[in-house]
Structure formats: C-alpha cells, structure tokens
Amino acid sequence: MKHLLKNREVLLVVIIAVMIALFATRAPGFAGPKNLANIFNDTSILIILALGQMTVILTKSIDLSVAANLAFTGMAVAMLNAAYPALPLVLILGVAIGMGAALGAINGYLVWALGIPPIVVTLGTLTIYRGMAFVLSGGSWINAHQMTPTFLNTPRTMLLGLPVLGWVAILIVALMVFVLSRTGFGRATYASGGNPVAATYAGIDVGRTKFYAFVLSGALAGLSGYLWVSRYAVAYVDIAAGFELDSVAACVIGGISIAGGIGSVGGAVLGALFLGVIKNALPVIGISPFAQMAISGLVIILAVIFNARAERNRGRMILRAHSKAEGGA
C-alpha cells in the first residue's frame, strides 16, 4: 500500500510539472519562481481547507460545511475588527480558530452522539452557517477601509520571497504531517476509517475520533475565514460559495479514498496544487474563467474513477495472496 501511495504522489508531481511546462510554452513567465510562488500563495487557503477535509474523509465522513464555516467566521472577525480596531491580531486569530472549531464541533456532535450521516448533517449546517453570516451582517459588506492595516497586511507581508499566507499553509502542512503520523489521534483517524469494527475492538472510540476530526476541520476553516477576508480585503455573505466542493476535489484528486482510511497529507496538498495550477493557467491559455467549474467537475469524476480502480486492484491482490497461502498449507 505504501508503494502504491508513493506512486500516486510521484504521478501527481509529474502531472503538475508537465502541466506547468506546457503552460510555460504559451506564457514564458509561467514557470518562473516568482509565478510559482504566486500560485502556491494563491492555493494556500485551499491547501489548508483540504487538509481539514482530508482528516474528516479519512474517518469515512465528509464535511460540506467548510466554505459556509469560512464565510460565517470570516464575516464575524471582519466585523469584530471593524467594530473594535484596537483588538490585537492574536486575539482575532484566536476568535477565528475558536469559532470555526465550535461550528465544527456542532457537526461532530450531531455525527457522534446522534449517529446522523455526515453528509446530511453538513448539508444542513452548510445552509445554516451561511444563513447566519447573513443574519450577523444584515446582508451588508465589510470593505477594506473598515479593516485595520494590521488585520489586512499581515498575511501579505513578504518573508523570504513568500507572503506570510504561504508560510501559514506550510506551517499547517507540517503540523498535519505530525498530527496524522505521530499522534494517537492520527492513528485513530486512519483506523476508524479503514475498518471501524476492528478499530472499535482495538479500543478506539470511532465516534469521538470523528468528532475531533470535525473540530479540526472546523478550526482550519475558521483560520481560513480570517485569511480569506484579509487576502481579498472584503467580507460578504457569499464569499467562498461552492468552495467546499474544491476542498473535496483536492482530496479526491490527491488519492484520498472517499470510503475512508486511505490518503496522505502529500496527496491532499498536491491535489490542491493541481487545481491551483489549472485555475491560474486558464486565463494564460485563453480559456474563460467560467470553464473552471466544469473542469473541476470533470477532474473529480476522473479522479474518483482512477481511485476506485486503484483500490479494486489492491483488493484483488490481497485475495490472491490469501488463496496462495491456503493452497500452500
């Protein structure tokens, strides 16, 4: 399995490299380090969301409320900043992450305690959270001039050739690698999705693991809420509408199995970068930006087909090994 996963990531790196090379033939500057850093910075928020989404998907669940969570939290911190400009940024960050985590905890609680299918819970909270963003703001916008310079400029500050926003994404990636591969929660996440029954017998509380996965996904969505609002310098009800699909797409492209238990941080990051490169390349090669939605849809479907084939092959190999062992005995 490890070998196969490695293949998938290598494959994605090759595909992305080929795409960049192809686009560079049309627009010479495309493959330059400055533009590549730009693409990475542009994809940072998607990477952060995809990592939260991945943790949830690993436990055999799905979180469709991440974009609504982002919009609600983003609106809340923007209004907080507009109303109390003296508040330090650290506090605002704390509010964003805490509020996002609380919204994620609502999802997680409904899934854990009531056993409602995650897709139904998050379809419901998707509309509720976005509706709450409207109720909170009364439908009005928070514009750049209402936000403080610190609030706006911190993610844009350049640090070693990359804006802080990009560094935040790198930090989150490192953190997620650590959490998923070096902590009990990480092991429990893979076990709960890979084989819930076996996980239960091994003493893992599957429901609680799902709950924590939703809290983590919510917290990252909350953080993204602040990052989004400060990056685009505006907060309104419809920000990031439909972005939950992009986060699912990034995971599926990255080889994270929707059936749970299979996937890696590297895969999710590469899946997000794949979408990021396409998004940045469309205007360069003269395709209407309106085509982006159809392209991500097509890519999701192709990735699902590809994943299913890979997983099916794996299953067959295990069976063959079994029958051989039996024949030998």
Partner: protein, 342 residues
C-alpha cells in the same frame, strides 16, 4: 453509498433485534405513523399561517403557494426512490441548470415549444444516464460521483452562458409554468398530482417498487434473490434525471429566462423534502404519501415566512434546521424508548 451507511452505528442493530410481542391495533399504528404526524404538522402550520397573515386564506394566494414546492416535489418523488434504494443524487439542481441552458440555446435558434420541451427532458435523461453509468456501471459511490457531476453540469452551463442570460422563449412555452388547467389549479399542480399517483403506484404496487425496497435493505441479499441491482439503480438515476428535466421545463417556463445560477441549492431542499417525508436516509423505508405531505409542509412554511417578509437566505436556515431536526428526532425518540425498556 459507503459514506452514508455506518457499520459502527449500534442503533440500527439494536432495533433490528427488538421484536415486539404485539403489533398493536391497526388504528394506533396508523396514528403513530410518521405520515399522520406530518399531516398534523401541516394542518397546524396551515392554521398558524391563516392567523399570521390576512392574505393567506385566498384561493389564488394558496394556488400561488403551490409553486413553492411543485417543481421540487417532482424531483423529490424520484429522489425518494433513489434514497430508498440506498443511493443519492446531489446533481439534480445542476441538471436543471444544464437542461434550462440547452432549452435557452435552442430557443435562440428559433425552435418551437414541442422541440424545447423535448430538449429539456432529453438533457435531463442524458444527465441521469451519465450518473447511472458512473454509479451502477463503474460501481462508484454516488455521493462523490454526483458531487462531481453537479460541478460538471452546472459548470457546462456557466461555460455556455458566463454572466449572461437566455430569454426570448416562445409565448406558448409559458403555459408549463404559468398556465392553469381549471380555475386556480395550475398546470404544475396537475403535473405534481399525476406524478404523485404514478410514483406511488410504481413504488407501492409493482415488482419494481418491491425491488427498490429490497435493494435498500440489503443489496447483497437482493442480488442473491435474483434482483438486477445495478439495472434497477441505473433506471432510478434515469428517472431522477427525467424528473429534473421536467422540473427544468416548468421552472424555465415560469421564470421565462435562464441563468447558470438557476435552481441554486435545490438539491438540499429536495433531499430535505424526501427526508422530512419519512424516508430513511440510510435506505430501505418510506412512502410516497409522506413525501407528498412533506412537500405541502415545506411549501406552507416558505410561503408563510414569505408573507411575513422573511428574506430567502433566512428561510434557508429554517430548511437546514428542519432537515437536521427531522432526522434527529426519530433517533432521539428511539433512544428514549430503548432506555425506558431497559
């Protein structure tokens, strides 16, 4: 639907083992059923609406109120069968957008009403076939597949239209969404009534309907009993596509224009309607009668809130709450019952 069914959920296992000594009299069973409960809720909302607004009790206003749910209910009937069979289709609203765009493009070329209807319904069928092929042909999980096709179908619509809109439909095309059969009964309402009867017969009085239940309860047992599981699922996706195409004809005719954002978020309302109608999201149980009443409940709620000047996005909060609460209530009730037995 691997992400929906949760093998660690101990609730279903417990209830399956509990077999009551007596079933109770038919009368008490009917009274305790979800459909009757829902009917009572519908009546209460109706009366509350009548008190809340003086404009509510008017034949024409009530007729207007039906437009809130008829198009969604058309899709909900097919979606009900799909969910009973253990699958789901999140692309229905995107199918409406694509079918409407196809009709709009055809209207620009000067095609007549019959051709437009054919194109709309045909697009719906084609989209349904794509979903059906991906799910039953390639054996992929329907949730991700239809999230993908949702993005693909609506994306195609955006590719064609961008930020523009189609209009200029022929005058006779307006009948499907704006015409009346007799007095206050609109064409859409008549279509809704006919579809309700057709789907009720299909689900409750044919072999096909039995097969749908069997598949939802246990697809493996169904396969071993000779039920053509994949073929039935394919037909159900076709049906859902067909009904989405018909809904697209009605909606486009009613609005008289097509934008790529048409019917945005309807997949959620359709699923809510189905689940509110007492159809188990885990598959295997539910009735068309429940969906019919649920359609009225949702129509009455949105119309009542509309009369009270509640904005649409706030209404969607109510829809989301309704969805979660209606699923959570039976689970909580079952748990409390289980506790009192112990």
């Amino acid at each position: 639907m691997s992400a929906l069914t949760d093998p660690t959920n101990s609730d279903s296992a417990q209830t399956r083992r509990a077999i009551p000594d007596r079933l109770g009299t038919p009368f008490t069973r009917i009274l305790a059923s979800w459909e009757v409960l829902l009917l009572i809720v519908a009546v209460v909302i109706f009366i509350a609406n009548a008190f809340a607004s003086p404009y509510f009790l008017n034949a024409w206003n009530l007729s207007d109120a039906t437009f809130n749910f008829t198009e969604k209910a058309l899709i909900a009937f097919a979606m009900a069968l799909l969910i009973i069979a253990g699958e789901i289709d999140l692309s229905v609203a995107a199918i409406i957008a694509l079918a409407s765009t196809a009709m709009g493009a055809a209207a620009q070329m000067g095609l007549g009403t019959p051709a437009l209807v054919l194109i709309g319904v045909g697009t719906g069928l084609a989209c349904g076939a794509v979903n059906g092929f991906l799910v039953s042909g390639l054996k992929l999980p329907s949730i991700v597949v239809t999230i993908g096709t949702m993005s693909l179908f609506r994306g195609l619509s955006y590719m064609v239209l961008g930020d523009k809109a189609y209009g200029g439909y022929p005058a006779s095309f307006a009948y499907f969404g704006q015409g009346y059969v007799v007095w206050v009964f609109s064409f859409e309402f008549a279509l809704f009534a006919v579809a309700a009867v057709v789907f009720a017969v299909l689900l409750h009085a044919t072999n096909f309907g039995r097969q749908v239940y069997v598949i939802g309860n246990n697809p493996f047992a169904a396969r071993f009993s000779g039920v053509p599981v994949e073929r039935v699922k394919f037909i159900l996706f076709l049906l859902t596509g067909l009904m989405s195409g018909i809904a697209a004809v009605c909606l486009t005719s009613r609005l008289g224009s097509t934008r790529p954002s048409i019917a945005q978020g309807w997949e959620l309302e359709v699923v809510t309607m189905v689940v509110l109608g007492g159809i188990s999201i885990l598959g295997g149980s539910g009735t068309i009668g429940g969906v019919v009443i649920a359609a009225f409940v949702m129509g009455l709620v949105t119309f009542g809130l509309g009369l009270l000047n509640v904005p649409g996005i706030v209404m969607s909060i109510f829809i989301g709450l309704l969805l979660i609460i209606t699923i959570a209530l039976p689970i909580v009730a079952r748990r409390m019952k289980g506790r009192s037995l112990r």
